[in-house]
């Protein structure tokens, strides 16, 4: 059976627990960013751009067999790393689970600064948009 949202969050927390300092954390994040599966160019439309980000961030979603599948990309690699984690946690889950998700891992791994309103990297907007997609799909369902 696929892991649920909290199980995935817990494994991320465990992975980050191995790092000694911020450089290791960020190196890992950068690595995740570089490895994020590329988003189809056709999906990088203005409609899919998340507003309020300093770097361009695109997000698209599709609904398959009761699960929401997210694809995303960014011009900046750290944001891409953060996106990669969000996708790992929220993609391929049901709309209900996504809507109810409490993303505690961000705080636990010491990345909450990126979720703060004051940061213009759009992570907060990204989470909101992911939940919006989930809501839209749940209504369709």
């Amino acid at each position: 059976m696929a892991k649920n949202i909290n199980q995935i969050q817990d494994s991320l927390i465990e992975e980050f627990g191995l790092f000694e300092d911020w450089t290791e954390k960020y190196e890992y994040l950068i690595d995740l960013g570089k490895k994020l599966s590329p988003m189809a160019e056709a999906l990088k439309t203005e409609d899919n751009v998340i507003k309020g980000c300093q770097s361009k961030v695109w997000l698209s979603a599709k609904f398959e067999e009761g699960k929401v599948i997210f694809e995303a990309d960014s011009e900046a690699v750290i944001v891409k790393g953060l996106i990669s984690m969000l996708i790992r946690v929220l993609s391929n889950q049901t709309p209900q689970d996504i809507l109810q998700a409490d993303l505690y891992f961000i705080d636990e791994i010491g990345m909450s600064q990126h979720l703060a309103q004051t940061r213009s990297n759009g992570l907060l907007a990204m989470v909101k948009q992911m939940k919006n997609y989930a809501l839209a799909f749940s209504l369709k369902d």
Binding site: T23, E27, I30, Q54, S55, E75, I78, S120
Partner: protein, 402 residues
């Protein structure tokens, strides 16, 4: 060690476990303790509303408030204090001119010239009034190194041009523009000139009479003073001819329902209770600046600019955006294969504050076909040691990202 640093208490702190290196002075400068002290003293001793009370505190607050106006007049060599209008900042001053001068003197088919180097604050207010009036915005192009194309500027001039609005110094890339020539050429066709001095006043001395400039707008917070205060200087005949801006208290002489007569300059443009405390503290920042002289500041910052430019070029793939021969101490740069946002984020981990992004100058970014830059902007309290630490951190950051 730089002896001015101790005047700026904020500089003495750790950020992310590292000593703070503040290289975001073009966004806002730090405040000397003399300014902070005046702010505190005002609220502890003098706080009152001005120009109305018949009591000791009101008198004291009014005198200090008006004294700042006098200091500003001296600072830019304004012929009178009435021509110094307090605003909320550069943006506030530009909007004031757009909504009063623009409303009264720009008509259908007229033109307003701006440059490709402008901050959004010196673009959008003109677009708004141009749209309302059916006027056109013309743009002075910028060369590859970030210098205004003066031949193109001259060819844009004609009798339909009512106003030329350009910055003295570009916030995004540091270019110092030839405003003397811009002003005299514009005057030759009867156009007025507004200079956005936001980025220049802290670094270059300005004499409004010698320049013969029609309007000058700037912000206290980029001049080692408080946020929320700015200045609009204007020629008296223009300010008198302009309709009032906002209505309210202070700006009126007499109000009745039959009609209202407006107050004289500068109060005609200062509706409502102003930012008294910050205006008074702004006076202290001018005193501080005068105690140093622009010459001293200029020498120190010129040194920092050439040192930083030289050291930054040690980094593989680093390109400086904006290499005008005349620049203030601002270095905008890009590093091949990296995004400015990543650089800024990781430098922050080293306690280093720079600005990344489009710097509210998107048309300029479009001109260079880039998404943004990393910008390090220096003030006289910065040091070569800080630049060394910055370059070393930057090298590590690039290694992480590549």
């Amino acid at each position: 060690m730089n002896s001015y640093r101790s005047d700026f208490p904020i500089l003495d702190q750790m950020v992310n476990g590292k000593p703070l290196i503040y290289f975001d002075n073009a966004a806002t400068t730090q405040k000397p303790k003399q300014v902070i002290e005046v702010l505190k003293h005002y609220y502890e001793m003098d706080n009152a509303n001005i120009h109305r009370g018949a009591h000791a505190l009101a008198d004291r607050a009014t005198a200090k408030y008006e004294n700042t106006r006098k200091k500003i007049a001296d600072f830019i060599n304004s012929p009178s204090t009435e021509q110094i209008i307090f605003t909320s900042g550069t943006t506030g001053g530009i909007n004031l001119v757009a909504q009063t001068f623009g409303r009264a003197f720009v008509g259908n088919g007229d033109q307003i010239i701006v440059s490709n180097l402008e901050h959004h604050s010196n673009i959008v207010p003109w677009q708004m009034i141009a749209q309302e009036k059916g006027a056109e915005i013309k743009v002075i192009p910028v060369s590859e190194v970030g210098v205004l194309d003066m031949e193109a500027f001259k060819s844009l001039l004609n009798s339909r041009v009512k106003l030329v609005a350009v910055n003295h110094v570009s916030n995004a890339i540091g270019t110092i523009n030839p405003i003397e020539t811009i002003i005299s050429e514009a005057h030759n066709v009867g156009a007025k000139v507004l200079i956005d001095g936001a980025q220049s006043v802290a670094h270059i001395s300005i004499d409004v009479q010698k320049l013969d400039v029609d309007f000058l707008a700037f912000s206290a917070h980029k001049l080692f003073g408080p946020t929320g205060v700015g200045v609009l200087y204007g020629k008296k005949e223009l300010l008198n001819a302009m309709p009032p801006y906002q209505g309210g208290g202070e700006m009126i002489k007499e109000v009745s329902f039959a009609g209202t007569t407006y107050n004289e300059l500068p109060y005609k443009f200062e509706a409502g209770t102003p930012n008294i405390a910050d205006v008074i503290a702004f006076g202290a920042s001018l005193d501080y600046l005068n105690s140093l002289s622009h010459q001293t500041i200029w020498e120190l910052e010129k040194e920092l600019l050439s040192y930083a430019s030289k050291r930054l070029l040690e980094i593989d793939g680093l390109k400086i955006i904006g290499t005008a021969p005349q620049k203030i101490a601002v270095v905008s740069f890009l590093i091949e294969g990296t995004h400015p946002q990543d650089i800024g984020l990781l430098l922050d981990k080293y306690g280093i504050a720079i600005r990344t992004g489009h710097h509210c100058a998107q048309p300029l970014m479009q001109r260079f076909d880039i998404v943004g830059t990393c910008r390090a902007s220096f003030a006289f309290y910065n040091t070569k040691e800080e630049i060394d630490a910055f370059v070393e951190a930057l090298k590590k950051v690039v290694l992480m990202l590549k």
